[in-house]
Each structure stands twice: as C-alpha cells, then as structure tokens.
C-alpha cells in the first residue's frame, strides 16, 4: 500500500465510531472536555520523528504483536541465571573458572551498560528477575490472563513520592554488600549465586504483593541507573503515533489492558511519554491499543537527555548520587582511601568498605557537584525568577516536599544535572572495561570445564585482550566521548532551559561546561591513579 493510502487508513480508523442507534447511556454522559491546550507544543521536542517508526515494517509489526515475544527475550537470560545460581552453589569454587561468576561479572555487567547507553531499557524487556516474578504474577509465560496471582496492592504514597530515588538507595545498598563480600571481584561463586537468589526473591515478593511492575519502577537496584543513563539511548520506546487519537480514546486499553495486552506494567502512557525513562519496552501497549496507535520509535541519541520538558527532580538527584557512587568506586582503589578505610576499620571494627566512608564519599561527591551547580546558578542566574514560574520544572515528588519550595534552585539543578548524564554514564561503562578486557576470555575455559576441557591451566584463563596501559587508554577515550556528549547536550539544554533564566548567559554557559569538564577530567585522572596504585 502506498503512503497516501496509509494516511487514509488512520483517518478511517478515527472516524469509525458507531452507527446511530439507541444508546440511553450516551444521553446521560456529559464528560467535561479535556484540557488539550498547547498539547502539540508540549510534546514536539520529545516526539520522535515519524519516519523513525520501526514498527512500520510489517515483519517488525507482526513480531511485536506476538505475545510470545517477551517470553522469548527473557528465556535465554532466565536459563543463564538459573545456571549461575546452580553453578555458584554446585560448581567449582574458582571464580575465574566458574561459568556463573565469569559470565555475570565479565560479560553481562558490561553488556548491560552498553545496552543502556545505546538503547535504554533494553535489559528490562529481557530481565530474568522481573521476568520470572511477572510469570508468577500473571500465572502465565506469555498469554494474556485476566486473573493475576497476588494481592495487587498499590505502592504506598509516602514511599512512591521518592520516585526513582528509592531505586538509587537500593543500588547503593546492593553495591555496598557486593563490595563488602567482594562478590563482583569476583569472589566466591556461591556469593554471586546468593545475590541472584536474593534479588529474585525480593522481586517475587514485590510482584506478589503489589500491582504491575512496582518492583521495577521503585525498588529494582538497577532501575534508576538504567533509567537515567538510558536517556542517552536511541530507542525512544513505545510512543503514540497520533496524539489526537489518544486524547480522544475512550478506553485507554494501553493503560487498563485489553484482550490482547496487559495494561502498561511501568505506569507509562504512550500518549504522554516524553522520554524513554519509564518504558520497559515490553510491547504490551502496542498489543493492547485497539486503534493501532502505538509504534516503536527510534530517536537521535541523547534526545531523552536534552529534550524532556518536564525534568524530574528524582532523576536529577539520582544522577548526582550515582555520580558519587562511581567516583567512590574509583577512589577506593587509591592509596589515600585505603589508609582512611583502614583507620575507620580499626575504629569501628567493620572491614572494607566501611559504611561511614562509603556513604561519606558518595554524599560528599554528590553534594560538591550539586553545590557547584547551584553556585553557578546563583552567581550567574537571574535573581528574580517570578516570570519563570509558569514553566517551573515539576518534581516527581509532591508539592509539599523540600525541593519544590525552592523552585529557583531547581531551575538550575535540574537542567545541569541532566547535562551530566552522558559523562556519568560513560564513567560507569569505563569502570566495567578492565574486567571485560582482562578476564572475558576466561569464559572459554569456564565453558570448556563443562566438557572436561577447561582448567586453570588453559591459556585463556589469564589471557587478557588488552594490557593495562591500553585499557586505561580506552577508559579515558570512553570518558572523553562521554564528556563531549555531555558538553553537546549541555549546550542544547542551555539554549532552551537556562538561557531564559540567566543573568549573564555566557558566564553560566561557561560554568556549566566547566562543571562537566571537571567531572570528565576528574574521572580520567582517577583512572590513572587507580592503576598506578595497582
């Protein structure tokens, strides 16, 4: 069919209402009209280009409609993770030869970061933790079932108001545990195994108590990281094809679920999604929409960093805390830190990582970064932001919260924190690189060991793809690219969001660039020091 005819189809679909018939209910319904003011303006910056809809391809469309799709994505990961669990307990105790530890820490953890930066929540669509728990919750592997298992409770508001910050907290806790036991080192395979079991158990518990993917949205340790770093990704996610159709849609099957698909498990409405932040790429809305009005869209990289009109305070704070964490992980390999941690260990009796310096470093880094942003904002921004009020960035947290009392602070904190996303993301990726380059080949003897061929004597056991100096070079290159991406994004963000609120536009622009540069350079220098310390 030609494009012209395609157009006619959507027209026809939209007009396909009903025959005139006796409908007594209609006579009594008098819904208030919707507020559609500025709707096109509101979304134009974040709507992906129409021609970047991959689901236009008939083959892709058929695959996305298939209910088995997500099951097939989850299945291989599910198998691997059960193997990890079993091998962790029953397999060899040598972490470098145990398939469970090698695949988890040398391959998977690096791939997740690459997927994040390129796609967004790709991992979420195939995640074996949520996947497994969701099978139980829905009592099915792929079918659309009506009766779910579990209590279907709503997540309590006092917690939900923190948005993705809860996920950051659980990431910090998990990372601490992981460092404490040196699980990712990797340490003993059974530790990895227990960690995986722990996460699956938590996921199952949350899926059975709460509705939809409450776990993924609020609790999952990786969610905030994937969400924020994923903003760099070039997959916009599932979005509305024609917003007017959504606005006039009477059923909202994408939210409530229909015969073909579940209601969005991630609390995202394709009709108003303005970033890829909370689309788990599960394709349920695509299946459910009776008007065929959902498409899978690509977007230029960094769109979800630059373009969203509503910048979320929880994401801004998450970025700062996650930045603190990755810097902590670099700092902790330095000699200065080692002596500090030893001293604290002697004082408190808790070995590395001592919770005091762990939290301390993270919070201090986050605070310093935040303070720099605010200092620049207050120095070079407008003193009086009353006129700015109308487009005041709104929080994920309710009006009563501390942050919303200081809209002025938010006017600078939110855009600049968003600008930091690429450099923070790059640093996370860079930090995973040594494990990949040095150890990923040990997967070969680890697999070989199943057939009686792998052993610590295998040349791959210790063979690294790259030597240390080369690795540092790659790391710095990655950070460099991230920094450049950040600067580019910052420039765009600045033009739209910060220019109107700056007193001295040049000075504020330069300070925001300087903060990004400082982060990039700081992280690079730390890689030097880390390896020097080794």
């Amino acid at each position: 069919m030609t494009i012209a005819e395609d157009k006619k189809i959507t027209e026809a679909d939209r007009n396909a209402d009903s025959f005139e018939h006796y409908d007594p209910i209609k006579q009594a319904v008098h819904l208030r009209p919707k507020n559609k003011d500025n709707i096109h303006e509101r979304f134009e910056s974040t709507d992906p280009p129409k021609k970047w809809e991959v689901s236009k391809n008939k083959r892709v469309a058929a695959i996305l409609k298939d209910r088995r799709l997500q099951f097939l994505l989850i299945l291989p990961n599910q198998i691997v993770f059960w193997v990890v669990i079993v091998l962790g307990i029953a397999g060899t105790a040598d972490p470098m030869l145990n398939f469970g530890t090698t695949i988890t820490w040398f391959l998977w953890f690096c791939l997740v970061f690459v997927m994040m930066a390129v796609i967004g929540r790709a991992w979420c669509s195939m995640c074996p933790f949520g996947g497994f728990a969701e099978w139980l919750q829905r009592r099915t592997f792929w079918q659309r079932t009506q009766k779910t298992l579990g209590l279907g409770k709503k997540f309590p508001e006092p917690l939900a108001r923190w948005g993705f910050l809860l996920s950051v907290v659980s990431f910090l806790i998990l990372t601490w545990i992981e460092e404490f036991f040196n699980i990712a080192g990797p340490g003993s395979p059974w530790e990895t195994s227990y960690m995986v079991i722990g996460i699956v158990t938590a996921a199952v518990a949350f899926f059975l108590v709460f509705e939809r993917r409450t776990f993924c949205r609020y609790i999952c340790p990786l969610s905030a990281l994937i969400g924020s770093v994923g903003a760099m990704g070039s997959v916009a996610g599932f979005r509305t094809k024609d917003r007017d159709v959504c606005m006039d849609c009477k059923t909202k099957d994408c939210m409530r679920g229909s015969e073909e698909g579940f209601g969005c498990p991630w609390y995202t409405w394709p009709g108003s999604a303005d970033s890829n932040l909370s689309c788990g790429l599960c394709s349920e809305c695509y299946k459910a929409c009776p008007s065929d009005n959902v498409g899978l869209f690509l977007q230029p990289p960094l769109t979800s960093v630059i373009a969203p009109k509503r910048r979320r305070a929880d994401i801004a704070l998450s970025v700062l805390l996650l930045w603190g964490l990755v810097i902590y992980q670099q700092v902790n390999a330095t000699n200065v830190f080692a002596s500090l941690d030893n001293w604290l260990t002697n004082k408190t009796g808790i070995h590395y990582p001592n919770p005091i310096d762990y939290v301390g470093v993270i919070v201090i880094v986050a605070l310093i970064t935040g303070a720099l942003i605010l200092a620049a904002g207050f120095a070079f921004g407008k003193k009086n932001l009353d006129s700015y009020k109308e487009s005041q960035p709104v929080l994920a947290t309710p009006q009563k919260s501390l942050l919303s009392k200081h809209p002025k602070a938010l006017a600078f904190l939110l855009p600049i924190s968003y600008g930091l996303i690429p450099v923070v993301g790059a640093d996370y990726l860079a930090r995973q690189l040594p494990k990949f380059f040095q150890h990923v080949l040990s997967l070969i003897p680890a697999v070989g060991a199943w057939f009686g061929h792998g052993s610590a004597k295998s040349s791959f056991y210790t063979k690294a793809i790259l030597g240390v100096p080369q690795i540092v070079a790659v790391q710095i290159a990655v950070i460099g690219i991230g920094t450049l991406a950040s600067l580019w994004a910052m420039n765009k963000i600045f033009n739209r969001d910060l220019k109107p609120v700056s007193r001295s536009s040049a000075a504020l622009r330069i300070s925001s660039f300087a903060i990004i540069l400082a982060c990039g350079v700081g992280a690079s220098v730390l890689y030097f020091i880390m390896h020097a310390a080794n």
Binding site: M1, E5, K8, I9, A12, D13, A16, S18, F19, E20, H21, Y22, P24, I25, Q27, A28, V29, H30, R32, K34, N35, D37, N38, I39, R42, K58, A62, K65, D66, Q146, K154, E157, A160, G163, E211, R217, K250, T251, K252, M255, R256, S258, E259, E260, Y267, T268, W269, G271, S272, P290, S291, D292, K309, R310, S391, Q392, V394, L395, A396, T397
Partner: protein
C-alpha cells in the same frame, strides 16, 4: 426554584478532603478530570500531570476509581449529607388491608434536599446501574429546578413504567447501589424515591408520536407484561400498528398477578395499559399463542415480539408433592389479590380445604397455616397477602439468609407483619391423605453463595399446614426452549470487562456495602449484555424479550428489553408489502477486521471506499473494539481476518477472531461476508469461519481468500463481488 445547599458550591465544612496525586506516575491521561463532578481537577500542561483543589473536592472518589494507574489518593469524611428517611406504613389491622406499605417522599423540602445530594456526575455510574439507563442526574436536576414536567419527559426517553419501577425495583442492586456515594461507601442518593416523587406529583404524559419510522409495519406482541408494554409503546410512538395478544383477560402480566396491591396499587399498575389503549394499540385478551403458532402469525405480521415470561413454576420433587392443597405462587397470588379486593378471607379461596381443616381466622393461634416454599420476593408477597387474608404464614428457604435473593426491607416488613421466615430449612416430605396436612422440615447449611446447601438434620420439625404455596421461581416454557435452543441466555459478566464501563469506575469496588456486599459493576454489565441481546432476533423477524429471554428477572429489565427489541424492529424490518424504503434511511454495514501486520486492515478499510454515502453507513472497526450495539444495528457484517498457523499444520483464522466469534450467541440471521488474508495457504479457514457463523445464526453470502502480499492486485475483483452482493441484497436501493 434554586437550590442553595448544593454540595458542589457549598463545601463550607471545616475539614476538606485530604487529596494526594502521585505525580510520579500520573500520566496526565485526564480520565479523572473529565469525570470529576466538582471540577476539582485541573491539568498542569507543563508537567502533564493533574492537580486537585481539595477545597472543591467532595470526596466522592470517582477519580480514584477511574484512574488507570491508581495515582490518586483521597481521604475524606462522609460529605454526602443525610439521606432522606422514607416511612413504612404499618397497617393497624392487617386483615383485609390493601394500603400501600412503602411510602415515598411526601414534601418538596425533602425532595429538594435529597435532590441536592446528587452530584450530577459527568459519567454517572447510577445510569449504568439502572437496567434501563434512566437519565438519573437529568431528572434529578429537573427536580432541583422544580420542573417535574421536564423530569417526566426525561424519564419518558427510557421508561414507560417510572411509577411501577420506582416502587418495585431493588434499587440497592441497581441505580442506588451504583451511585457514586454508594461506591465510596456512603449512603447513595434516594433515586427510587425521587423518581416516585416525580410520578406522584405530576402526570405521566400520554404516549406521544416520535416519528413515522414504523409506518406500515404490523407488529404482534405476545404477552401483556412490562416487556410487552414498553415494546408496544415504542412501536406505536413511531407509527407502527401494534396488536398485543394476552392469554389472560386483563393486561399486566406478573405486574398484576404476582405483585400484591400493598406494594403496587392497582391504579398504578393499570396506568400504562390505559395509555397504550389511548395511543391505539389493539389488544386481544384470552388468546394464548403457542410457540408453534409463530410461523402462522408471521403471515399476518411483519415482526413478532415474544414477551411471554418464564411460565413454568419450579416444583419441589419430594414425597407427597402431588397431594391436593399444594399450589403454585402465581395462581395463588392472582386469586388472593382478587379476594382482597372483594374483602373476602382465606377460607373463601379454597373452601374445600378450609372447611375440612376447621381452622378459622379468628384468634391468632387457630388461624389456618400457609406454608410458603421459598423466601424470595414472591414468597414474601404470598406470605404477606396471606396475613392480610387472615392466615398465618411460614416461609422456608434452604439457602442461608445472607445469600437469599430477597430485598432486605421486604424481609423486615414481612417479619413486622408476623410472617415466620426460616432460612436454612427445607421440606423433605408432605404428609396427608388427599389433602396435605403437615410437612416434615429438615435443616440445612450453606457456607458460600456459589455452593448449594446441604441437609444437616433430617425431619427435624413437623409442621401442621393447611395450604402449601410453592414460590421457588420459574423457568422457561419447554416449547419455547425447544424451538429457540439458545434460550435462555444466561446473564454473564465476561472476564475482560468493557473498558468504557471500567473507565466509569462502576467495576472498581468488588463488594459494595449498600448492595449487600455484591459487585454492582458485575451485576450491571451482566444485565447490559442481556439487554443488548434482546435487540437481536432469535429467528427471522422474531424477537424474544424479558423473562422469556433470560429466565426470571425483574420488571425493569423486561421493560428495557422490550424497548430495545422494538428499536431493532423499527430499524431492520420493512413492511411485507408496499414501500420497502419507507422510514429506513441507510443500510448499516459493519466491517470488522483482525490484523497483525496490517494486510487485513488495508483490505478492510479500502473495501467499501466507493459505496454511496447516501445509501450506506459504514463502520470499520478492529475486532478488539467491536461494540455489540453496532452488531445489533448492522444490516450486514463484513469480517476480515488473517491466517495463523504453522503453514502446514494448525492453520486457522487468527485466535482473536475465533474468540470474538465464539463469544457471540447469535447474529440474529444477519447476512455476512468473510475474507481472510494469508501468506501461503488458508486451508480450511474460510469453511471454519462459515461454520462458526452458521452455528450462530448468520448466513455467509461470500467467502474470499486474498494473498497478503498481493492484496492490492486482488482488491478490485473482491470489491466487485461485494458490490454485486450489495446490489442484490439491498435491491430496494436500486
């Protein structure tokens, strides 16, 4: 008249509701905003989330029930204000008393106060709960304006029996149970009492001519009950000639025979028939039409609506049940009602029985004993009328009280009048020579509503009885079910609830206190599905409505069915002779498609693109969005689907198509065109579809398989074939 104490504008209570919007997950879909009755919800276009002004909010929680993402929390005291107290009239001397026991609102002050409790909800759940979908906020607003004539007019759009329904409906399971206040856990607006107030304080208007859509149509209605009355009214108002056949000598059906005067006064139940006679409806009394005579009747009439009710009383098959002195409730009630009117007593009813027993209605203890089997509403009527005729009455029901289908107020009234009602009790045998003299009662236990009770103690009680009345319910006449095998339709709620209904919030509360713990949403949807089915004929030009369609139900449901069937007759039936196009404007073509990658949709949307817009009205809809009402309203259906399978094995029409087809009981003999788009080979898919349609009373006129990739090349030929069928089938246009 203006109202000052409207809760919308008068939230001067000190404590406003506590409202929280989870702005983290509010998606700005505005489902809540469009439904909030007080406009407390506003959209923040920048953050694309909503905000709620708690000073406007009245705590009805409509928004929380409607939000798909549970993003709103409302904590509020009951701000619904006090519901009007309705009085129950307790006759001083029950004997031979015919006065109405339930009283309505007696003065304007109460009426206005009650009317002001209504929030005029934008998506009124009460309207969905009402089986005939009266415009409740509409008529309540008219009361607030002091304009009862307007209120009558609003009612007349949907009901011909407002005076009857407002008295006999179990509002707790219908409109009032579904009122937004009830769903929020508070006392609902007294909708029934307000409806009654209108009919008691203004005249129900005579049947007015609405259109001449039905000119030239001759329609037979069999049965002069509520379903027949409403069908007749709709038809005659649109210019059709209507003849009502009734086996009794008077109209009214169960409304007259089974509901006693102290619940429904005679002047009220007769009013509608006077109006129908005045509007020119012909009545043939004393004419029982057997199902077998239908085809004969078809020669004389263009359409036939069967509103014959569920006539076969259920019997208790225990030893002794064939003794004399055991009668069925309807026969009893009909006689008893007449007796009461003639001021006679129970001894006059079955003289031979009471002469023999010697019991006389003098002192309380020596009064004759009537045992009523069952404790439903009919049983209550039997027992209460027995009391008025000077007898003692005992009702027994094997169910537990909490699960019994009886209005709680009816139960209280009956007990107040001295009726002995025993739940968890059943009869195991009747004893007597020729006449029944005693009954052996056993005790039962029932723990859940869905399980039948079990006997826990056999023959525990021996009760002396003079007369036994079976009031355990009815079922459809065997002739009817043998002829129309799909009857009775069971009222069902599908697993997947219609999202438009879901959006209204009516299904959000699984157990509504005011509705005795039942789900009004499920009840309403089940009723609605049955009402829609009443619009489809069961055979060519034959409709079945009311109890005859779904088994024993209610006056209001029967009435709603009658109207829907009549609308359908007017829409689809043309006079046998004369101008085939009279009245009818356009032919309705319903195109339904199921698609995965878009091929089928492309064909479906282009297939009818050059049909004349003047003659045809087309609706093209994906299978997931088909509205049953459109199926009813269509003159022809085009169904397109794709082929699913593993090329060689298990090749079938797509699953959603089959699922949808199998969810429909009947297509009422409508013509159908089916097509499939396939990749390799559709195999037997078209035949399967034809078979499925045939089983559901539809005639497949054309089957077509189109190769998916070559759809465009094959389209012109298919178009031509379809056009031919249209020309031939709807020749009246050419």
């Amino acid at each position: 008249m203006t109202i000052t104490n409207d809760p919308k504008t008068n939230s001067n209570t000190q404590s406003f509701p506590n409202v929280t919007v989870f702005s983290d997950r509010c998606a700005g879909c505005e489902e809540c905003l469009v439904r909030c009755p007080t406009q407390a919800i506003e959209m923040d276009n920048f953050s694309w989330t909503i905000t709620i002004n708690n000073e406007l909010c009245v705590g009805c929680m409509q928004c929380t029930r409607t939000c798909p993402f549970s993003a709103i929390k409302i904590e509020s005291e009951d701000l619904s204000k006090t519901r009007v107290q309705l009085s129950i009239h307790h006759p001083k001397d029950l004997l031979l008393d015919r006065s109405e026991t339930r009283r309505g609102i007696t003065n304007w002050t109460d009426a206005l106060a009650e009317a002001s409790r209504c929030l005029n909800c934008p998506d009124p759940t009460c309207v969905r709960g009402c089986p005939t979908h009266n415009n409740i906020p509409g008529f309540i607003a008219a009361i607030r304006d002091g304009n009862l004539d307007q209120a009558q007019e609003i009612l007349s759009n949907t009901t011909v029996l407002p005076d009857v329904c407002s008295r006999v409906c179990d509002q707790a399971l219908q409109c009032e149970g579904s009122c937004t206040w009830s769903l929020a856990g508070h006392e609902p607006v007294a909708i029934g009492a307000l409806e009654r107030f209108i009919t008691e304080n203004s005249n129900v208007a005579p049947i007015a001519t609405k259109s001449d859509k039905g000119k030239g149509l001759e329609v037979a209605i069999i049965g002069a009950g509520p379903a027949g009355a409403s069908a007749a009214s709709e038809l005659v108002a649109n210019g059709a000639t209507v003849t009502v056949f009734e086996k009794n000598s008077e109209p009214g059906g169960l409304m007259r025979t089974a509901i006693p005067e102290f619940t429904l006064p005679q002047n009220v139940s007769q009013r509608v028939w006077e109006n129908l006679k005045a509007a020119g409806v012909k009545f043939e009394f004393g004419k029982e039409i057997q199902t077998a005579q239908i085809s004969e009747l078809k020669n004389k009439f263009d359409a036939i609506i069967m509103a014959v009710g569920a006539q076969a009383p259920l019997k208790l098959p225990v030893p002794g049940s064939d003794l004399e002195g055991i009668v069925d409730a309807v026969a009893f009630l009909e006689k008893a009602d007449n007796l009461l009117r003639e001021k006679k007593t129970i001894e006059d009813l079955y003289p031979e029985i009471f002469k023999r027993s010697g019991n006389q209605s003098k002192s309380e203890s020596s009064k004759p004993m009537i045992l009523v089997l069952g404790a439903g509403n009919t049983a209550m009527d039997v027992a209460r009328i027995s009391r008025r005729l000077g007898a003692n009455a005992t009702c027994v029901d094997w169910m537990s009280q909490q699960f019994a289908p009886v209005r709680p107020d009816e139960l209280v009234e009956a007990r107040d009048e001295g009726v002995d009602i025993r739940f968890n009790t059943t009869v195991s045998s009747f004893v007597g020579e020729k006449y029944v003299t005693s009954a052996k009662l056993s005790l039962t236990r029932q723990e859940v509503a869905t399980k039948l009770p079990t006997v826990i103690k056999e023959n525990a009680i021996d009760l002396k009885v003079d007369l036994v009345v079976m009031a355990m319910g009815f079922r459809l006449d065997k002739q009817l079910t043998d002829t129309f095998t799909m009857l009775p339709y069971r009222k069902k709620t599908p697993d997947m609830i219609d999202r438009v209904w879901q959006a209204s919030g009516i299904t959000a509360v699984p157990s509504v206190e005011w509705a005795r713990g039942q789900s009004v949403g499920k009840l309403s949807i089940a009723r609605e599905n049955a009402r829609l089915k009443a619009g489809l004929p069961v055979a060519d030009n034959v409709w079945v409505v009311g109890d005859a369609l779904i088994g024993p139900s209610t006056v209001v449901e029967a009435m709603a069915h009658g109207k829907h069937a009549a609308v359908s007759v007017l829409e689809h039936v043309r006079p046998r002779e004369g101008d085939k196009t009279s009245g009818k404007t356009k032919t309705n073509v319903l195109v339904i498609y199921d698609t995965r990658s878009g091929n089928t949709r492309d064909v479906a949307t282009n297939l009818l693109s050059d049909l004349s817009q003047d003659l045809y009205s087309t609706v093209v809809t994906p299978i997931t969005k088909v509205n049953y009402n459109d199926v009813v309203a269509s003159d022809i259906i085009v169904l397109g689907t794709w082929i699913e399978g593993m090329v060689l094995a298990n090749v079938k029409p797509a699953k959603p198509t089959l699922r949808w087809l199998r969810s429909i009981d009947t297509f009422g003999n409508k013509p159908v065109i089916v097509f499939v788009t396939y990749g390799v080979n559709p195999k037997g898919s078209l035949d399967l579809l034809e078979k499925e349609f045939a089983q559901r009373h539809a005639k497949v006129l054309l089957k077509k398989a189109i190769k998916g990739g070559k759809a465009q090349a094959q389209l012109p030929e298919f178009k031509k074939q379809v056009k031919q069928i249209f020309n031939q089938y709807f020749e009246k246009h050419n």
